[in-house]
Symmetry: C2
Subunit: 494 residues, 2 copies
């Protein structure tokens, strides 16, 4: 009996996955292709897909099947046990949201993303403000539906990093903050002689595309099962089995901007391509959390891609396609790609200052949700805090509180996962070195196969079978800790 | 009571339109973006969307609402009356197809399109053959479900050109065939001095894109509600309100190939962008038939875009972006773009020979469906007929029976609409001249607004309100006739 209940759940999840993957394509297309006048109708399409998926999962029979699995015997297979555990968690959570709220939320989101893009382009926060007010309001409604221990933000963060509370993040961030400031100041002093324009030149977009693809392919990204496109905000979307799409943006004066965007998204893409295909659609077939996802992107971007050894290997290749590099030395490229200084834009921030951007966003969004900060006061709060954290005054909202897409997507509680990912990346990379003797030599010769294989085995193939904290403990032999990340930053930047 | 039934139908159709437009995006993406390994899953997504749309329309309550509208009083509004008439036709037709056949058909189609693309690339008909056999089989099953008067092909053509029978097409084509051959021979003699390589040079894809977009914009295509991408087979997809997408393909030696592809698809796109948005989702909001659709693409491609006046205006603009044109004269470009000779590829065929390609395909697909020709014998039948019609031997299947995407899409009965469109284009363009004194001068100065306005009023804005034959009669004052097209060809090519 529980076997047929389990089978019913898998079938239902396959149908839901078809809707979700179609939703994901609608979203990808909106960011990369959709003409302006198609936005309104796209919002309706997204709302329908999300509503349908929600309805299929929240149907009473699904709850019945989950109970049957819990009460009956689904066997000892850990994947089955994990699926049942996660279905229960997700079902209880999803059935707390009225369908109308899910559809409204989707509709609001599509409009808000479009308004955000215009507001950012025209540096006009007032165009985004009413949309964000609605989004904060909807997020609070969702938190009330979900329930929480201490503060509504607890309920939101749960979507992105299960088992993490607002207090956990606040405590971690309070511990990190003074050390990050110390590292940031020292790193900036160390980089004083490295000019931001040092490598400036004309790097045609086409040449950047070709070089980025070459590196992504070397890392192991499968271009028969994925692609790279252009979007305002770089992202990775694991649309469906065999279809993982990355985006980046191009600055023809600076090839590093698109390159490191691609290396980062390739890390996400490798994770998506490495998930267990046989479990697609069920929780075990999914990535386990955003923090773990981000640990993969950061590992490839920063630990692999900003190593001196990376450039020792790739500099000759880059010289062949980028004319302006002919007069540069490899140590200059290394110094440039590990330079650090306080800066305005998170996605372009260096490692030494990056986490402070996250701490800032966490504090602001926590206050927005708690009602301690009004949306109307967001630009001022942002700018004040920015001055305090980085000693920089923010010249406009486009480079300030309008720079990130997340809030327009309704993704409140998402930002902390970036720093959780940074900690995970450092811890995994350190452990990979312990487990893989000789790996440095392989990386230095552009051979990434064994590192990828290790990540496949430790992180990708388990999919969603464990909770994120358990996965990290099993993979590295200890709890997630800030020490590896801080040690990495100190050794690179001090 | 019939008012609420009508309202229910409109609401149901809006939901169906969301599924259909999402399907259309899945299809567009498959042709332009989808990585190879994503094809199998895409087939499942398409099948789900089509199945859901079919189920929503075929539900018993829909039949009930239509009957209520027929029996009750929906008022005198011609749009309402037309919607009720078309819903009845479509409902009776759709409910004849078992849902399983619809889903199987979608799944087969997605796989067949991918197999066709490989077979074409590798010139290996055997890779496509089993897929085509399944498609022919499914098409016959569909025809049996629909029912027909004389031959199963009657039931298929009805999907593309309502009210047209196999016998109608056969009679028309028998009338055209000798005249087309005579025109083709004379046109080829007239073009003997025009070399295929006359304009050859290096035309970078980027410059072609920019020029094509400029012309499409001048014709009136709204790029805030549409875009142009690259695909193996040029097509236009009216995905959703505010989102009409054209594709073309590029040959860097010959800018005319992508340009005339774009002019053709722009004609389709202008029709899609001009449909009555307030009726979106209902039959009145749709294009009326493929023949009418094709009349729009042919009118802009051939009657506008191959006029000498077109090049009188655009040649100086083209010279600015295309280096190799600097040494050419405008009369050479005019001669080149109106040259004619028997050729292998339909989409690159000139006007004087184009319809013979259609006659050939009609005869073959009619025989495939009737069971008079086996799929295994298709390449030979194609090549024999080609020799007979054009005096050319077909060197390989890629340039022979594998050249068109239609059969892989399951679109049997589609080809005749191209020639119906050619007749319509000539008739409409001739009537536009009668109705719009001075239009030649406007076209010669690159001003297309009044011609577009006339087409908007006569063809686009009525949407699906009339049957195709009625629309043509109301627009031009007479039945669709081959005389305008033959006269146009004679005056241009003899």
């Amino acid at each position: 009996m529980s076997t047929s209940a389990y089978k019913n759940l898998v079938e239902r999840c396959s149908e839901i996955a078809l809707y979700n993957s179609t939703s994901a394509l609608l979203g990808w297309d909106q960011e990369t292709c959709l003409p302006k006048k198609g936005v309104a109708y796209r919002a309706e399409q997204c709302a329908l897909m999300k509503g349908r998926s929600h309805r299929l999962f929240c149907a009473p029979e699904v709850g019945g099947w989950i109970s049957e699995c819990e009460d009956g015997d689904v066997g000892e297979d850990p994947a089955r046990l994990a699926n049942v555990r996660d279905w229960r968690w997700a079902y209880d959570r999803a059935t707390k949201l009225p369908e109308e709220l899910v559809e409204t939320s989707e509709r609001v989101r599509a409009h808000a993303m479009s308004a955000w893009a215009s507001a950012r382009k025209e540096d006009d926060f007032s165009k985004f403000r009413p949309h964000l007010e609605t989004i904060i309001d909807i997020s609070r409604q969702k938190a009330e539906c979900f329930g929480y221990n201490e503060t509504p933000y607890d309920a939101l963060i749960e979507d992105y990093e299960r088992g993490t509370s607002t207090a956990d993040v606040a405590e971690l961030f309070e511990e990190l903050k003074p050390q990050l400031r110390e590292i940031g100041l020292a790193a900036a002093r160390r980089s004083e002689t490295v000019s931001e324009e040092m490598l400036n030149g004309h790097y045609p977009q086409e040449a950047q595309c070709a070089f980025n693809e070459k590196v992504a392919r070397a890392f192991g990204f499968d271009f028969e099962a994925g692609r790279i496109d252009t979007a305002v905000h770089p992202f990775c979307s694991g649309l469906a089995p065999g279809d993982t799409r990355l985006t980046t943006r191009y600055d023809e004066k600076d090839f590093c901007s698109s390159l490191y965007g691609v290396l980062h998204e390739t890390g996400h893409g490798l994770y998506e391509q490495g998930l267990p295909a046989e479990h697609h659609g069920t929780p075990v077939g999914n990535s386990v959390s955003l923090g773990i996802h981000e640990s993969q992107s950061r590992l490839w971007e920063n630990h692999v891609g900003r190593q001196p050894a990376f450039w020792e290997h790739w500099f000759p290749v880059a010289k062949e396609v980028f004319g302006p590099l002919s007069s540069r030395r490899v140590d200059e490229v290394i110094a440039f790609t590990t330079r650090s200084r306080p800066s305005l834009i998170r996605v372009e921030a260096d490692e030494a200052t990056y986490d402070l951007h996250i701490v800032l966003r966490f504090e602001i969004e926590r206050d927005l949700i708690a009602g301690d900060l009004a949306v109307a006061d967001l630009p001022e709060a942002w700018n004040t805090k920015f001055e305090e954290f980085f000693g920089l005054s923010v010249p406009n909202d486009t480079e300030g509180c309008l720079q990130d897409i997340h809030w327009s997507m309704g993704a409140l509680g998402y930002f902390p996962t970036y720093t959780i990912g940074n900690l995970g990346a450092a811890q995994l990379f350190a452990k990979a070195h312990e487990h893989l003797p000789g790996i440095d030599g392989e990386l230095a010769s552009g051979n990434y196969a064994r590192l990828l294989e290790w990540l496949r085995c430790k992180i990708h193939e388990p999919g969603g079978q464990m909770l994120p904290s358990d996965l990290m403990r099993v993979a590295t032999g200890e709890e997630l800790s800030p020490s590896y990340h801080l040690e990495h930053l100190r050794s690179r930047y001090l």
